[in-house]
């Protein structure tokens, strides 16, 4: 499924870039229980317990940053596995310098496979979309200067 | 090959298991089961009543249908602990005193079964159907058994079997099975 969106914050682009570039910081935008840490300069891993209502599971996450052109663009790939399923995301996040801060635009594909895709897609597709939106919204709030 | 023997935990945490009292085919039973034990597993594995079958795992095929207090339920969508205090009747309980239930007779006479796998569940549904509606139309029968899938018969002879049983039960003196 395709996800896409954007926001604008009154923070400097380098700051915004740094926020997104640090998995630990970015992880603070997740509302679901999680534990995420960097394993090297471009990789991170951890766990995330997520779902919709009572359909919840713990996913093992592995992610990486790639094709970085700081502070313009980065590609974040994420592989999650849990509940007999795989959730694979590849997002391109772009940062545009504006007169009053930074415009953030994200676009990418999220693929679900296994049980979730075959049994639960009807139920989780909307959730995934919402969670991605919520993540970026949380980032926006945190990045907005007080 | 990795064979790591692990001891089975003998003491389950509280509320993960329960002692239940169930009357199965007229026989009172007291059993200790895990809360998650499905009724179908209880019948098949604990009581060795293997006439009730598992077909689809998700409540669509009805092969596991048994009567709980006279009502057909899918025993793979029902916990054994939920049957505590109930009367459960499975296919093994249809024949009484060496006499086949009219539904069993009907299935045999009208060739209402082929591989026999869906048959116990189908017959349990039929028994309840006829108890509620002793003289069903073909449409009522077809709707009544629509929670039970049969892959072999195309349902034609199952309908006939139930009609045959209905006729026999109507002719039989009251107080039969």
């Amino acid at each position: 499924m395709h996800v896409e969106g954007d926001f604008h914050v009154r923070s400097a682009r380098t700051l915004v870039w740094a926020f997104f570039r640090d998995p630990a910081t970015l992880a603070t935008c997740l509302e679901d229980p999680h534990e995420i840490h960097a394993t090297d300069a471009t990789h991170f891993e951890g766990t995330l317990t997520a779902g919709v209502a009572f359909i919840r599971g713990t996913f093992r996450l592995r992610g990486s940053y790639a094709s970085e052109t700081p502070p313009n663009q980065m590609q974040v790939t994420l592989q999650g596995s849990g509940m007999g399923s795989g959730v694979d995301a590849a997002l391109t996040v772009s940062f545009a310098e504006g007169s009053e801060g930074t415009g953030v635009h994200w676009t990418g594909e999220i693929k679900m496979s296994g049980t979730i895709a075959t049994v639960g897609e009807r139920l989780v597709k909307g959730t995934v979309d919402k969670k991605v939106t919520a993540l970026f919204e949380a980032a926006r709030v945190k990045l907005e200067p007080a | 090959m990795a064979i790591d023997a692990v001891e089975v935990q003998s003491a389950m945490p509280n509320h993960r298991s329960k002692t239940i009292h169930v009357t199965v085919n007229g026989v009172p039973r007291e059993s200790h089961v895990e809360a998650r034990t499905l009724l179908v597993s209880y019948l098949r594995e604990h009581l060795k009543l293997t006439g009730t079958h598992i077909g689809c795992d998700t409540g669509h095929c009805g092969a596991c249908t048994v009567l709980v207090d006279g009502t057909p339920v899918k025993s793979c969508m029902f916990l054994a602990v939920q049957s505590d205090g109930s009367e459960v009747r499975s296919v093994e309980g249809l024949e009484t005193g060496g006499k086949l239930h009219p539904v069993q007779e009907g299935f045999h006479k009208e060739h209402g079964l082929q591989c026999g796998y869906c048959t116990p569940g189908m017959m349990m549904t039929s028994v309840a159907l006829l108890a509620a509606n002793p003289n069903p139309t073909e449409d009522e029968i077809r709707r009544g058994i629509s929670g039970n899938l049969c892959r072999c018969t195309g349902y034609v002879n199952i309908v006939k079997a139930i009609q045959s049983a209905a006729k026999e039960m109507a002719a039989a003196p009251k107080g039969g099975p």
Binding site: V52, A53, F54, I55, T115 | S41, T58, V73, G147
Partner: protein, 291 residues
């Protein structure tokens, strides 16, 4: 396919059940009919640590009518609903739906409360209750509250019932004179979730004018949908095929189906239109004394 372990509690009162839910916030799940939950547990999509089996709470399974409401206890089986003579006589929308939910054996276990509070957009009763302007009685640790069906469904599996609350009664306002209701379900086969389901309620006066109407939609959006514009549009109109067709278009526009094996979005939306028109016609016929 076997469910994971859980702790199992069998409360004998609503208060006890709510206490357990409150104590284990989020980890506990109510087991009513279990016809959706146990399947999800076997697929390991749901892994609640605690199950609170409400089936043994006395006086929670009933269908009765007083001067204001049809009152349905939460653990009433859906099979009972369609068998109830009161329901058949005066709330045919519910007996229609009661004959279409899943299959006859599942209906012996599945409960009205479960069907209504599960929050699955594919469940058939929510659309009916939206159409009928029903309300729900909900018990929580702080007492009882009553919520209207409209606004109750927030998202797929997300309703206004909190994790420490439990629905205890479904109340359908007593229909006045000139009321007719119906539910139609388009399904691929018995046991399927609806391609589309439509619940309709209409009230007509002696001249055949529609006084007010309610239309609920099943499985054409993230939740059951109340087709507000279509329902409002009908108020004050005189029954005609053209009026129903216009209402049907408004209902179609209120739907937001996802594509799946049942068909793509444009097909499903058109089916909302067709079945809304047909269901309205059936409800109107009933309002005018037909069957």
């Amino acid at each position: 396919m076997y469910p994971p372990n859980f702790e199992y509690y069998v409360p004998s009162t609503v208060e006890e059940a709510v206490g357990l839910l409150d104590q284990h916030q989020g980890d506990a799940k109510i087991l009513a009919g279990g016809q959706s939950l146990i399947a999800m547990m076997k697929l390991r999509l749901a892994q609640p640590a605690i199950l609170v089996d409400i089936n043994r709470i006395p006086n929670l399974a009933y269908v009765r009518e007083d001067d204001k409401f049809l009152r349905i206890g939460a653990t009433t089986r859906t099979a009972e609903l369609s068998r109830s003579t009161i329901v058949q006589a005066r709330y045919p929308i519910l007996s229609d739906a009661g004959r279409e939910i899943a299959d006859p054996i599942v209906r012996n276990r599945g409960t009205v409360g479960g069907n209504v509070s599960h929050g699955d957009p594919g469940n058939d009763l929510p659309a009916c209750l939206l159409a009928m302007g029903a309300e729900f009685e909900i018990h929580g640790p702080k007492g009882i509250r009553t919520l209207p069906a409209r606004g109750f469904y927030q998202d797929t599996f997300v309703t206004s019932v909190a994790t420490n609350e439990m629905m205890t009664e479904i109340r359908v306002p007593r229909p006045g004179a000139g009321t007719g209701s119906a539910y139609s379900k388009m399904e691929r086969k018995v046991g399927d979730f609806a391609t589309v389901g439509v619940g309709a309620r209409v009230v007509v006066d002696s001249s055949g004018k529609i006084l007010n109407a309610g239309i609920g939609l099943t499985n054409v959006g993230p939740t059951a949908i109340y087709a507000t514009a279509a329902s409002d549009f009908l108020a004050g109109k005189t029954d005609s095929d053209a009026v129903l067709a216009q209402a049907a278009v408004l209902a179609r526009d209120a739907s937001a189906p996802s594509p799946d094996n049942r068909g793509p979005v444009d097909f499903k939306k058109d089916m909302v239109r067709i079945w809304t028109r047909r269901t309205l016609r059936k409800a109107l016929d009933r309002a005018k004394g037909g069957k």
